[in-house]
Symmetry: C2
Subunit: 390 residues, 2 copies
């Protein structure tokens, strides 16, 4: 079976981006193409997968083809992949499978979202409709409320507290302050993050990710091509994915995401590693409680010990066994829905090539993980990467 | 490389369907599961791909997971695939690649659209936004207008006429009258179809497909599993796909679809066949002129001779070398956007197993093709099927 590597990666700055869909995508794709070490032309791309929840304005159908047309890939077979906020995590999986299938040697996976041309009401609608509709959204539950329920339950079951969440927020703001592509590039103090205005009890402003525009793009290649294109390929050694009930009440537990557990187990097995081998993880912290649960679900902390893990600063840059969200995570780097999954892969690409600047490089990083969640856990994709092929 | 077969297929009736998204999908999926000859449980599915342009009402993100949850496949990795009206043609391609990649043995590909809970204005918006936005939609060009331009140009370049299009409409209504799953199950006379009210000159009502609800689903399996599940697998011997400029003015010609030509060439080469080997073809006749051009682009008629092909009745059931749109096609079977691609595969499944009733069986059918187009040709997927593996 053919091995698959990332050979190029690019992304826009996340935030209130001045460009529209075509401009943002072209910026990310051109960066990705330019980052390939050897001579590389977009015409070499055999297949493309672009993730987006709703693109944002202007174009509803066939937008994937519109974007490849505007980035030198006219003619390439391309489709949009949608799984709410896990859209480009799945685009990455599907691109990886396309190469493994033997049908393509060079494949683009990317994601994009334009969120800031919508009214606040339409944004709320968008986000709400990625969870359960009948029992949650129509009853008035928004996503902060959904994750607040998870937090309250975790506090109750495991003795964690809001202070644990504050530690996560402070850490991710610190990391984001070192990332020139981040939406929010400033540190916050523990005191400030602890006293943010309430959004959905117990979650405050500093527990919630911002509303970001952005695009991200990675170039994958089959092993024989990858080695021609670069001396430092970043291998995708495992891909796992799963789905779950949309409504919280259908799940046996709301203090873990079964889809994360299944997807990571599959990815670890494929790569022949365990959580202990991971040097850095980009995890889906749409809310701080989501990162806390992810550290447990991915095996970095024991069940119920995510709060202790956060309190101990175990995920801080180069301080523990694993750096969690070196990029700043969704909390600070930003969360342009469909762009987030491949945006995590962009961070891993640079980290595993040891080329990250601004004091944000994870020392001696050899193995990395990305964790991308759709909705409140209805879909999840986990990928494991290495400097060496598994 | 592993070979891939269809081992099950199901679909709802197309039309004004009384059920919503979950009900329609469950009906199609349950039919598909029940059609597998051996003992089969939805839990055996390893991966799923569901195509939809916009689902229609109720749920915007994560709908693919909602649908698998409601059809016995909770937990399976699933994503929505969107390429306008070619959404499930690409879902089929991606499902096929997932098996070829060695990552999955049993994969579901399906599609769905609920169109009839929208106001006419929103329907027009939906359809319009799958073509070019800046130069076409915002200038007032709708899809009938887009295809009317293609028709006028074809008449001008090749001496075809509206009568040729009427022959296509009459043929597809005849075939649809024999299909209990079709949206429109009645024959029309040449005179009636020739005198329909004008929609976009030269296209009349009888040149345009209806607005349909519907869902379709096929079950694919790797060869070693397929042979356990059925004695009559339908092999997918070739898959081709391509994209093109969205705007007509960017294309060298508007009397052919370059994406169809590229995709079919790729599919034929993979299957080791030519157009002459095809016994039946389900082609994307959103408008009659689209079928006329498809017969040329797919190689059934010589360039410019699609009108002659239609006039001669060459695509009529069991009359020529190839039966075109035995199901009734989009014109008569209906066109629930995202459901159309895998719906074409459902027809092929039954035709190649020689189990079609109501006098609609293509005699001695051995090799078949499906042709699914997104927008006005910006995306296209072509698949070639056989009773024998290539």
């Amino acid at each position: 079976m053919v091995n698959v590597a990332m050979v190029g990666a690019g992304q826009t700055k996340y935030g209130n981006h001045p460009l529209g869909l075509k401009g943002m995508w072209a910026e990310a794709a051109e960066q990705a193409f330019a980052s390939v070490d050897g001579d590389f032309e977009p015409r070499q791309v055999d297949e493309a997968f672009i993730g987006s929840l709703a693109f944002g304005g202007a174009q509803l159908g066939n937008t994937a083809a519109l974007l490849t047309e505007h980035s030198g890939m006219n003619g390439v077979p391309v489709r949009r992949v949608e799984n709410a906020c896990a859209s480009s995590g799945y685009a990455l999986r599907d691109a990886w499978m396309a190469i493994k299938s033997g049908q393509a040697d060079v494949v683009v996976a990317g994601g994009i979202e334009k969120m800031n041309d919508l009214t606040p009401e339409r944004k709320r609608y968008w986000l709400g409709v990625s969870g359960d509709t009948e029992w949650e959204r129509l009853a008035g539950l928004t996503f902060p409320g959904t994750y607040a329920l998870m937090a309250r339950r975790h506090f109750h079951e495991h003795g964690s507290s809001h202070d644990d969440l504050v530690h996560i927020s402070v850490k991710n703001h610190l990391h984001g302050s070192l990332n020139p592509k981040a939406h929010i590039q400033k540190e916050v103090s523990f005191e400030k993050a602890a006293s943010g205005f309430m959004v959905a009890d117990p979650l405050t402003l500093y527990d919630c990710c911002p509303t970001s525009d952005g695009a991200s793009c990675v170039v994958l290649a089959a092993d024989h091509v990858a080695r021609q294109l670069t001396d430092t390929p970043v291998w995708i050694n495992g891909s796992g994915a799963a789905s779950d009930h949309l409504a919280l009440h259908d799940r046996p537990s709301i203090t873990r995401l079964a889809a994360t557990q299944k997807a990571s187990k599959q990815a670890y097995e494929q790569a022949g590693i365990t959580a202990d081998d991971i040097d850095l993880a980009e995890v889906h912290d749409c809310f701080t409680i989501a990162e806390l649960m992810a550290t447990e679900d991915l095996g970095f902390a024991a069940r119920g010990q995510g709060g202790v893990f956060a309190r101990d600063g175990a995920g801080r840059l180069n301080e523990g066994a694993v750096t969690v969200n070196a990029s700043g995570g969704l909390k600070s780097k930003g969360h342009p829905l469909g762009a987030t999954g491949t945006g995590q892969a962009v961070e891993v690409f640079h980290q595993l090539r040891h080329e990250v600047t601004h004091g944000r490089q994870v020392r001696d990083a050899e193995v990395a993980l990305t964790h991308n969640v759709g909705g409140s856990g209805a879909t999840c994709a986990v990928h494991v990467f290495g400097r060496e092929v598994a």
